[in-house]
Each structure stands twice: as C-alpha cells, then as structure tokens.
C-alpha cells in the first residue's frame, strides 16, 4: 500500500517534471520566434534600404518623375510633426491622466470618461484622418497643414497618453502620498514634487510608445497634413514665413506618407529603392528616438530622485 502510493507519487512527480520541461521549451521557442521575426523584419528592411541611404538621399528634395529623389523635407517633417504633436499631447495627456488618477471620484462619470478614452484608443486611424479633414482642415480652415496633422495625431495618441499617465500615477506607492500629506504638503505639491519623479519611468515608456505611433502613422495624416510639401527655404527659420520649414500652417508629407505615396503612385524609375531607403531611415529614426528618450528619461529620473539607476 505504502509503496504503491510512493510509486504513484513518484510517477506524478515525473509527469509534472516532464510537463514543466515541455512548457519551458514551448515558451522559449515562442519567445525566440518573436525575436527572430523582429530581427528578420529589421534585417530585411535594412538589407533592402541601407544601400540606398546617402547624405544626398537624406537631404535632397523628392522627385516626381526623374531619378535620384531624396527624402530631406519628409524627414524634417516627420521630426517636426513629432515635436508639434508632443507639445500638444503631453500636457493634455498628463493633465487628463493625473485628473483620472488623483482627482476623479470613483463613480458613473469617471467610469464613463474611462470608457470614452478606451473607445477612442481603438479608433481606426483612417477614421481619425477623415475626422481631421472635416473638422481641422475644413471647418477650422487650417487647410492641409502640420497643425491639422498634429491635432489629428493628438486625438490618436491622447487616449494612450492618458491611460499611461493614470497608470503611472496609480502605481506610485500610497505611502509616498501619505508621507507628503503628513508633512503638510498641498495635493498639488505632492503630485508635482513627490509623485511625478516616481512616475517618470512609466511616463517615458508611454511617451516613447506614443511617439513611435507618430513616426509610423500615415492614414491619419493623408487628409490632414497632406501629401505634398511646398518648396522650403531651409535658411528661413521664422515660423510665420510661408516658406519656412517651421511654419505650422504649411502642408507636409511625412516619411510614412511619402513611403505610401511613392509605393502607390510613384512615377520615378527608382521609386522602389526610394521607398526601401525611406523605410530603413524610418526604422532607424524610431530606434534612435527610443534610445534618446530612454537616456533622457533616465537622466531626468536620476536628477529628480538622486538615484543611480532607473528601476
């Protein structure tokens, strides 16, 4: 009897061990295949595109019919649009997220706001583009412009930013808030000086995600920032001048829209190479931005918390 139980037990143990091994192998295979797909994709894009990248390609104007077009203005537009969008998105998103996490009382209205944010975050970007066309481009008479594009992208990114801010603040230990309260600090002071530094790592991650979407988005921009760039004068940095690159009211095609355009209706003989080169540049930009934002976030976190590393 006892020996039988022992045998049964050891069998069960063996089975559990086998199951454990199989599960480990399966999980590792999954993880590796994800990495492989990602590396393969990046490798493919780089392999096709890197050869076409040159200083000339990065700085010269696109050509419609002739060979040898570059991506100078679209590259600049992508970066500038990112800055414009973030200038609008970050304060709104921080404000909304802090409100949701710290001020909103749990109840029907708060749940409703949360529902709206969530629905908004699953909106198809082409719908946001059409909305932008109707509201910003036509009704507000902004025309096809960087500003209209930035506003459309703000709608696109705001839900993400709000949710990430809310979670970042909700993740700050309650004891931190209590310590501030017991010291007699005001709520606002606690939020800005005690909680914000703790929340920074999550906020940086969120901002990177949102920014990546700005780089990659094409559909929402086709009808808002447009598919053309007027001739730009890169020696004129007054945002009020119509030919200045900084003028937010001029149309601007970004790298992503440029790739789309070249691929779908490009007449230049080297359209395929241009699309490949532009794709590689886009991926490199996203990678660089990622590294830069992480470094910036880490520096900020260190500065604000006197700690050695970001956890």
């Amino acid at each position: 009897m006892t020996t039988q139980t022992q045998i049964l037990r050891s069998k069960a143990r063996k089975r559990a061990k086998t199951a454990d091994k199989v599960a480990t192998v399966v999980i590792i295979v999954f993880a590796l295949s994800i990495v492989a797909i990602l590396l393969g994709l990046i490798g493919f894009i780089m392999f096709r595109g890197l050869g076409h990248i040159s200083w000339h390609f990065l700085t010269s104007n696109p050509q419609t019919i002739r060979e040898g077009g570059g991506i100078g203005p679209p590259l600049f537009n992508s970066l500038y649009l990112l800055v414009l969008t973030m200038i609008i998105t970050i304060p709104l998103g921080l404000g909304g997220g802090i409100y949701m996490s710290e001020y909103a009382k749990p109840g029907k209205i708060t749940s409703f706001i949360r529902l709206v944010v969530e629905v908004l975050s699953s909106f198809p970007s082409i719908v946001i583009g059409l909305f932008g066309l109707l509201v910003f481009v036509n009704t507000f008479e902004l025309g096809f412009s960087l500003l209209a594009g930035a506003l459309a992208l703000t709608i696109f990114n705001l839900p993400l930013m709000v949710r990430i801010t809310e979670q970042a603040f909700a993740g700050v230990p309650r004891e931190q808030k209590e310590a501030g309260l017991a010291l007699g600090l005001s709520k606002w002071k606690i939020i800005t000086s005690i909680m914000l530094p703790v929340a920074i790592p999550s906020l940086v991650t969120g901002t990177i995600l949102a920014a990546g979407r700005v780089f990659g988005e094409a559909a929402a921009l086709l009808f808002t920032s447009g598919m053309t760039t007027p001739p730009l004068n890169f020696s004129d940095w007054n945002p009020l001048h119509p030919r200045s690159p900084l003028n937010p009211l001029r149309p601007a095609e970004t790298l992503a829209t440029h790739i789309w355009k070249v691929n779908s209706e490009g007449l230049a003989p080297d359209a395929i190479q241009i699309a490949a080169g532009a794709s590689a540049v886009l991926v490199i930009m996203v990678l660089l931005f990622n590294l830069f934002a992480r470094w910036g976030g880490r520096t900020l976190y260190r500065y604000m918390t006197a700690s050695k590393r970001m956890n």
Binding site: K105, P106, P173, E175, Q176, E178, A179, G180, L181, A182, L183, G184, L185, S186, K189, S193, I194, P197, V198, M304, T305, A306, S307, K308
Partner: protein, 253 residues
C-alpha cells in the same frame, strides 16, 4: 467647565460608512511623554492615531464626530486648515517611506516648502533633524545619495528626521519598529525616549515589551472602545479591567 488638555480628544467617533470604528473616545496626551496605544488587530488604535492629524480624511467614506483639541483649537472643525495642522503633527508609519530623493532632499523638502530658501539655514535644519533622529553620523558623508540606498532601520530614522524637520509639537508613530530587526528597533526605542523630552509622542504598537519600555501612559483599545487608560506601570502591573490583563498576559505567554 474643565479646560481640555492642550492635546486631547473629546467624545471622538470615527465611521467608515455605516461601521463605527471608534466609539466616543475621550483621552488626553500629556506633554513631554509617550502614550502607547495597544490592543488586538482591528481594535481601532491605528484608525484613532490616523484621525489625530486627520489622515483619515483621505479614506473615502470616513467621517467623524466629536472633537480633537490642540491648544484650544478644535481640529475637527470644518474650517480647520488641515494642511497647516499637519505641519504641527508629524507622523511615521510601519513601513519606512522616504521620498525618492536624496537624503538631504528628504529632510530639506518640508522646510523649503514652508518658505526657507536660505541654503545655510537649510543645511542647519538638515543636520539638526538628522542629529535628533540619531542618523547624522551614519549619513553625513553621503547626503547627496538616494535615501532608498539606506537600510530599513536607517530609512525609518530618516522618516523620523523628516517629520522633525518642520518642528512638530506632536509625533504620531504607527508601529514604527515592527518591520525592523532587533538592533534597529532598539535604536528607534532609544530615540523615542530621547525625543519625548520636547515632544508629545503617541505610538501604536503590537509589542507589549516595547509599550512597557518606551511609554509613560498606555491606552488599551478593544473593538473601537477605550477599555483602559493610565500610567504604563499601573496598566502592566495592576490593570483595573480583566480584559486588559488578559490581552497583556496573552501576549507575554
């Protein structure tokens, strides 16, 4: 009418929704002494402690009746400036909760918020506060380092120093040593004995020996009522109520 003690509660009740967590408690906290609040888990002693600087306000659904008196001012009155009041009543919790800032910033933060901008003055406050919390010698060479790099016991003394930095008259301690090792606990207890010379201290503790060692007065709570309150020696050697004796003995056994 008898003048209430400079710091005391009168008929204080606390409710969480329908549940009455604290039932009509009136007690005073004498100056330059330590009052220990003891009792089994859930007896309301922590709730009572937290109500003294109105930290319970932060809990949704909590409300109170009765009064808390400090120097003739009713702290529970609706017009009371809670933020100002909390400056005069420091608080330290069970788990050390230093800010995610440098050791120096942890201490200087409060005084700077209250308007002290002078660097020299701030340096002085930091040193005095850390000295009063018996931490200065251990950290004086690393004030710029993160407070999170300190050990648990050091963090707890830093939290006490932080509370002292804004010169409170009262210090509320919610099981300040229960998460610490015996050596750190001993240091905290020494510190309490030292600090009571210029402060009223109220301490919640589950450790009977600790209550006996550090406190001058002991209050035994059970199910939201104040069962017995008196000098610590008397409560521990000759309590009036059976229930008090059973609780204290049970813990010893």
């Amino acid at each position: 009418m008898v003048m209430p003690m400079p710091f005391s509660t009168e008929d204080l009740s606390i409710y969480y929704g329908e549940f009455q967590a604290i039932k009509n408690i009136s007690m005073g906290f004498p100056a330059a002494s330590v009052t220990a609040l003891i009792g089994p888990s859930g007896c309301g002693k922590s709730t009572f402690l937290r109500s003294l600087n109105r930290m319970n306000d932060e809990i949704a659904g909590s409300r109170s009746t009765g009064h808390i008196w400090m120097d003739g001012i009713d702290l529970t009155a609706s017009g009371t400036d809670v933020i100002k009041l909390r400056q005069r009543i420091g608080m330290v919790w069970q788990r050390p909760n230093p800010f995610y800032k440098s050791i120096y910033e942890n201490i200087a933060f409060g005084p700077r918020y209250y308007g002290i901008k002078n660097r020299k003055q701030l340096d002085e406050i930091v040193e005095t506060s850390l000295r009063r919390a018996a931490l200065w010698d251990e950290v004086k060479d690393r004030l710029k380092e993160s407070a999170l790099a300190l050990s648990g016991g050091q963090q707890q003394r830093l939290c006490i120093a932080r509370a002292l930095s804004v010169n409170p008259q009262i210090l509320l301690l919610d099981e300040p040593a229960s998460a610490l090792d015996p050596v750190s606990t001993g240091k905290i207890e020494e510190l309490i004995t030292e600090l009571k010379k210029d402060l009223r201290i109220v301490i919640v503790t589950h450790n009977m020996q600790q209550a006996a060692r550090v406190s001058d007065y002991t209050a035994y709570f059970y199910l939201g009522t104040l069962v017995e309150h008196g000098e610590t020696d008397q409560i521990f050697t000759n309590p009036e109520k059976n229930s008090t004796q059973e609780y204290i003995m049970g813990r010893f056994g």
